[in-house]
């Protein structure tokens, strides 16, 4: 009987489906979205590249003078991430000493090129 009652209630109420392009589901704050790098914070320590489980971060040339903990450093390299191969685990964000590499709030979207990079 509970089945029949629920069927009738559902028939008379609005469907629970979110009609996606018109209505959107709210994304929670802690969501692990696309990977992004803030260049002026990065000190080139390569920790992100060392901890990435999928090995999609490579360090490329990127000299720049940065300041870290009151000292001025001459950075030599900076990270480059393959956007669509990143598994969004957040280990790089966890181990980055300055918070330069992080996961944004929105999705990475869809693309057709597996090698597209973010620096």
């Amino acid at each position: 009987m509970s089945v029949l009652r629920e069927m009738l209630e559902n028939l008379l109420s609005r469907p629970i489906t979110v009609l996606y392009p018109k209505e959107k589901v709210p994304i929670p704050e802690a969501f692990r979205g696309r990977i992004a790098i803030t260049d002026d914070k990065c000190i080139g320590c390569s920790k992100c590249s060392l901890v990435c489980p999928a090995q999609v971060i490579t360090m490329v040339d990127g000299p720049r003078d940065v300041e870290f903990k009151g000292k001025n450093l001459a950075r030599k390299k900076r990270p480059q991430v393959k956007l669509f191969k990143c598994i969004r685990c957040g280990l790089c964000e966890r181990h980055c000493p300055t918070g330069a590499i992080h996961l944004e709030h929105e999705h990475a979207g869809a693309g057709t090129d597996r090698e597209v990079v973010v620096t």
């Binding site: 559902n10 028939l11 469907p15 489906t17």
Partner: protein
């Protein structure tokens, strides 16, 4: 109505093939939409069954190796022709112009043909799943056909005629038969659900057990035709039950201009078939599939005995009514 043009219009356009196909697609849409809404989902848009039909017609037809493809092409068409012909004898706007004494039996025979064709196709596809599905289809046919025929025979006994249109006319003068035979009505609904192979009786097509049963090797236009056959069976079945138990397309009094009478009858036909569809859809949503041996159990123990009890009651009523 013996003039050939109007007979041809009756057979091919309204309420014949064209109207029947359109109404079948509409009822298929309604069935899916009601089921979806009961499950708290949105459901397909209005033109979905038509879109499915057209898409299927254009798909590639795959002939499994060693299978006689001519038979495979012909069998769905035979099934379609059978159910379309069955609809001609069911009253839609009043008495059917093609009715004759005994047309109830013809309709019941023609409605059994789609199951036979499913069995044939299951047997002919050289595929173990289709063979099992075909055997289950015929087993199910044996089990439900006896109570179904008995339940549809009792209105004929009560009205004293084997013609559907005359049964409708009898109900016009007396009450709807459902008030005299509620058990028969329920048995007929269950039998219809089994004939259309819908849950809880979709055993031949059990998707999670035998892939698609006899439907496995149907592709492209064969699948389109067979799907349309099942949708048309839904219309014929609900129209038959509406005519035999719910009074059919007839008001208790006759309206004066003949066209108004037909129009009112047609409206009643639509309302009653939609009511039957609502009940059938609800049964489909509310239950799961049972096993073939459990159907054997339930079918013979409860459903067939209920039908026999109904026949007994009707014979007693007839005797008491007629005799004094």
């Amino acid at each position: 109505m013996t003039d050939p043009v109007s007979i041809l219009v009756y057979i091919f356009i309204f309420p014949g093939f064209l109207f029947l196909a359109a109404y079948a697609l509409f009822l298929a849409y309604l069935d899916r939409k009601i089921a979806a809404r009961m499950q708290h989902r949105v459901g397909p848009p209005f033109f979905q069954p038509l879109a499915d039909f057209i898409k299927m017609l254009g798909k590639e037809v795959i002939n499994p190796a060693g299978v006689d493809w001519r038979l495979f092409d012909a069998i769905p068409l035979v099934a379609l022709a059978a159910v379309m012909t069955a609809f001609l004898y069911v009253p839609v706007t009043g008495a059917s112009p093609l009715s004759f004494p005994g047309d109830l039996v013809v309709v019941l025979y023609l409605m059994a043909l789609p199951t036979m064709s499913l069995f044939l196709m299951g047997w002919l596809s050289r595929n173990i799943f289709s063979a099992i599905g075909g055997i289950r289809a015929v087993t199910q046919l044996f089990i439900y056909e006896v109570p179904f025929f008995l339940a549809l025979l009792t209105p004929a006994i009560m009205a004293g005629s084997w013609s559907i249109s005359e049964i409708v006319a009898w109900q016009q003068q007396n009450l709807w038969i459902v008030f005299f035979q509620p058990i028969g009505f329920i048995v007929a609904l269950i039998g219809l659900q089994a004939k259309l192979e819908r849950t809880p009786f979709d055993i031949p097509e059990a998707e999670t057990e035998i892939v698609a049963g006899p439907w496995t090797e149907l592709t492209g236009r064969r699948l389109a035709v067979m799907d349309l056959t099942l949708d048309i069976s839904l219309v014929v079945g609900s129209a038959l039950i509406a005519a035999l138990f719910l009074g059919g397309p007839a008001l208790p009094w006759t309206l004066n201009p003949a066209w108004l009478n037909s129009a009112a009858g047609f409206l009643l036909f639509l309302i009653k078939t939609l009511a039957v569809l609502l009940v059938i859809s609800s049964i489909k949503v509310a239950t799961g599939r049972i096993r073939i041996d459990q159907l054997n159990d339930i079918g013979w123990k409860y459903i067939a005995s209920a039908a026999l009890v109904q026949v007994g009651i009707v014979l007693v009523i007839n005797y008491l009514w007629v005799a004094p």
